[in-house]
């Protein structure tokens, strides 16, 4: 029948259209992936080549100078890379631990108890969540100077106790994953409130704690603005400051193999963590919707 013919034609038309859309979307995706990966590919390739090879132009194949570049970077006295890695690790790890523990504690306080100021407290945290910390950086720097805490790592991790975005994630997670019956049961068993939090609530929160620990670690590892204000002596500096130092030094005098190697050292730890946990991290981004 004619109606059948029209239908077939329509179906065929839409099949063609679908194919066209599919091709367009794969081409765009491939291009975006190329953009995302290309720069890192060049970084890794150039980190394995020596200065003269790099100056001569770009190559798609790695060179043989990986170990030489690594050795040169580690031996360079102007850029204390080992202490930089150590300082970055200490600050990032402590920030992650403090922020997840105290944010979970705060979230539990708001989630599990009824008290007069509860609504105001939670509204306040949500309100300040989007306020950049840079607006109070001047006062922060002055305060740390007065407290004789400049050029120490303490001002870089202690403020993580108050992390509004982490708190927000924890509260949302508790709302859907922490039944109060469990807490009630623990109370009946004679568990104190802190004990309940540490031994009953925290284990249930593990997935949320892990996601937020990763995000806080990465944010702190990458942080440049505040550490650059606080840290002055070479031995205390974190990796981003060393990168900035590299930029402000006379660039042309540098061994480019070393420059690429240093950038790779700063970036790679996070990438390696990410490659192992990417599914988990991507799911965490979708779940939270809130990140610095």
């Amino acid at each position: 029948m004619t109606t059948q013919a029209v239908k077939d034609k329509g179906a065929e038309h839409s099949r063609h259209e679908l194919l066209a859309r599919r091709i367009v979307s794969y081409v765009v995706l491939a291009f975006l992936c190329f953009l995302c990966l290309f720069f890192f590919y060049v970084l890794i390739i150039n980190a394995t080549r020596n200065h003269y090879q790099i100056q001569r132009g770009f190559s798609f194949l790695p060179g043989k100078s990986f170990m030489t570049n690594l050795k040169n970077v580690l031996a360079d006295a102007n850029i204390p890379i080992l202490s930089g890695i150590k300082n970055s690790l200490v600050v990032a790890a402590l920030s992650a631990i403090l922020s997840i523990y105290f944010s979970a504690l705060t979230a539990y306080g708001v989630h599990a108890y009824d008290f007069k100021l509860k609504k105001i407290a939670s509204a306040f945290i949500i309100l300040i969540m989007t306020m950049p910390t840079q607006v109070s950086a001047l006062g922060f720097l002055r305060l740390m100077t007065n407290m004789k805490l400049t050029d120490t790592l303490i001002p870089l991790f202690l403020p993580s106790i108050a992390a509004p975005t982490v708190y927000y994630f924890m509260v949302s997670y508790m709302k859907s994953n922490l039944p109060m019956e469990i807490v009630e049961a623990a109370r009946i068993d004679g568990s104190g409130e802190f004990h309940t939090f540490n031994h009953v609530v925290l284990p249930i929160m593990k997935p949320a704690l892990a996601v937020q620990a990763i995000f806080t670690f990465v944010a702190s590892w990458n942080n440049y603005f505040v550490p650059a204000l606080i840290l002055t002596s070479n031995k205390k500096k974190t990796l981003p400051i060393l990168i900035a130092q590299l930029r402000s030094a006379d660039f042309l005098k540098f061994d480019m193999g070393q420059v690429y190697m240093l950038i790779a050292i700063a970036i790679m730890p996070v990438i390696i963590i990410y490659l192992f946990l990417s599914k988990f991290i991507v799911a965490g981004v979708a779940l939270g919707g809130v990140k610095g």
Binding site: L18, Q134, L138, V218, Y224, Y260, A266, K279
Partner: protein
């Protein structure tokens, strides 16, 4: 509401105490590390207080003179730079992210290898921004690999000096911001699209809607709250733009200070120990962010109220 089943009134009061104890560390840390510093930042903004050589001038109370100086001098330019750099990165970011979110969630299109694509496009978000900027600086320098590749491919005759041209510098910053954030935005928007009731899409398809009609009439209105959220957080993030232009231009914002952002300006004042001016810049930023927060909170609250009804 959640009072214990067997709880007497006395018992629930004794639990209330724990609420305060548990939230205390957060608020104490917040007060010490953010509230008091904010108050003293505002305080300094009304003083003439800077270092001239080895001499410290002030602090002398000068009222609003710091603000007057700021608004008549450099601030409009730097605020303009910041906004322009944000828009240059944000517009392509939101367009691409919307497109990808729709494609990834399209049941007829059925994009394969989604976990791979998501992993790759989110990766730049985790990169240290300063190292990323240093990498771009090395790659796009006058005799760097990008210029070498363009010349050997015959596209250019001589190196294009990206970092000596206004468009080149701004373009690179925008490109970096785009690369760092479009994956994040895509994942957020995808979550929003997947939250839409599937039967709406099916009904629209049965009624013969084209994909673009479905997008504009169903998807867009329903993800509007998330779009607003993405835009506001991105705007606030844009106002904080620092690492990328700072490292790329070595803190100078050159050529012609076209890439000096608000926070770079603040940073310069802090390093030269001009506390009065640094305070005034901070306060202006604070006011802008506070206004933004309120405006956005209102609009999102309206949306949520409507959705609930």
């Amino acid at each position: 509401m959640q009072a214990p089943a067997k709880g007497t009134k006395r018992r629930s009061i004794s639990y209330a105490k724990w609420g305060y104890i548990f939230i205390a560390p957060f608020f104490i840390a917040f007060a010490i590390f953010q509230l008091i510093p904010l108050a003293s930042t505002i305080y300094y903004s009304f003083f003439e207080y800077y270092r001239s050589g080895l001499k410290v001038i002030g602090p002398n109370f000068t009222g609003l003179s710091n603000y007057v100086k700021l608004l008549s001098l450099d601030l409009p330019k730097y605020l303009g730079n910041t906004m322009l750099l944000w828009i240059l990165g944000f517009v392509p970011q939101i367009i691409i992210s919307l497109l990808l979110a729709v494609w990834f969630t399209d049941n007829r299109l059925r994009i394969r290898c989604q976990p791979f694509f998501k992993t790759v496009i989110y990766m730049p978000n985790l990169i240290m921004a300063s190292a990323f900027a240093m990498l771009f600086f090395a790659l796009f320098s006058d005799n760097g690999p990008v210029n070498a590749a363009l010349i050997s491919a015959g596209i250019l005759n001589e190196p294009f000096r990206f970092l000596s041209s206004v468009a080149g510098t701004r373009g690179l910053i925008a490109l970096m911001n785009f690369l760092m954030w479009f994956g994040n935005t895509t994942i957020l928007l995808m979550a929003a699209v997947m939250g839409i009731d599937l039967s709406l899409f099916e009904a629209a398809e049965i009624d013969g809607c084209t994909p673009s009609q479905i997008f504009w009439k169903i998807t867009m209105p329903l993800i509007r709250p998330i779009l607003v959220y993405v835009m506001i957080t991105s705007l606030i993030g844009g106002l904080q733009m620092f690492d990328v232009p700072q490292i790329l231009t070595n803190g100078k914002g050159n050529p012609d200070r076209c890439a000096t952002t608000m926070i770079m300006y603040l940073n310069n004042h802090m390093f030269s120990k001009n506390y009065g001016m640094a305070g005034a810049v901070s306060v202006i930023l604070f006011i802008i962010c506070a206004v933004l927060c309120v405006v956005i909170y209102r609009s999102t609250n309206e949306d949520e109220g409507r959705k609930k009804k």
